[in-house]
Subunit: 149 residues, 2 copies
DNA sequence: CTAGAGTGCGTGTATATGCACGTATGGGGT
DNA sequence: ACCCCATACGTGCATATACACGCACTCTAG
């Protein structure tokens, strides 16, 4: 009797990963008409005409800065997002283009359908509770600060 | 006033992804001595001397079969996992090697520390509730079956 | 026994994610 | 003006994840 046969799913992290995989595939099944991944949708929803610095966006989305750079790449290639000059030569800023706003609008509709489908399947109240629980977990589990040397 | 400025985090999927990122970094900070990623740890915990077919393991972990193939690669290169002949020439089976069992044991200890640290930080009862909530969500949200054509 | 359906896999491609490292710019103290 | 540090980025590398394709092997209807 080892831990493997006993309770492989006792790991909160493993459970969260699994749930995330299922949720991602659920949302992306609904987003497939727009060709957006869930992460890309999320990015579009956090952008607008007002230029945003990369580091600011990364901090907002709590993503590694380099992850953000690469995630933006396909959106820029599609012409949905564009870089603009910032107040600082170091600082790279991005905005949503006109086409980007169109896509975002379409994707938003599909996302709404997905969210409603989720609520229909699992129960509106249940999803509300799940959201609260996730939110509380996010409040409690603070992100690890990068090692200060 | 658009949806972006209103409630970007209304998305259950986005929230789950964010929480998963935090949890992953939390666990991996504790696992870093063994050099294992959380996913790799999870893999080791699901293996033993008894050969397991890839498709069986993929189904168990609810991972795409091809994801599993690639995830196993570094473990095989390290000599912690080895392929063995199966009852079927199609079927690739893997087992945990002796070194693999050693690493698993070390990682298990580190994982225990991580889990306890998590409980200390967020509260033992709270983690228990979170686990239950995640488990219930997994029960309710069935994985999408591949399109039947 | 053989053709075709079904099963199990690997690889190519693309995104998601984060760390280590190196580059460039901005701002202060002297 | 200059040096140094902090800030902001990009790239290389490695893993995580899934889909589309194509190959190999098994099994069964005829």
């Amino acid at each position: 009797m080892n831990a493997a046969t006993e309770k492989p799913l006792a790991c909160t992290g493993a459970r969260a990963r699994r749930l995330t995989r299922r949720l991602t595939s659920f949302y992306e099944a609904h987003l497939r008409d727009s060709g957006l991944k869930l992460t890309q949708y999320s990015l579009l929803m956090h952008l607008d005409k007002t230029p945003r610095a990369l580091h600011q966006l990364a901090s907002l989305l709590e993503l590694d800065r380099t992850t953000l750079t690469r995630s933006l790449k396909p959106l820029i290639e599609q012409g949905w997002v564009a870089g603009v000059v910032g107040p600082d030569a170091r600082c790279r800023c991005v905005v949503l283009t006109a086409e980007g706003r169109v896509v975002r609008q379409i994707a938003l509709r599909q996302w709404c359908v997905a969210q409603r489908a989720l609520e229909d399947e699992l129960g509106r109240d249940y999803i509300a509770r799940l959201n609260e629980q996730l939110e509380e977990a996010l409040l409690r589990l603070k992100p690890l600060l990068p090692e200060e040397n």
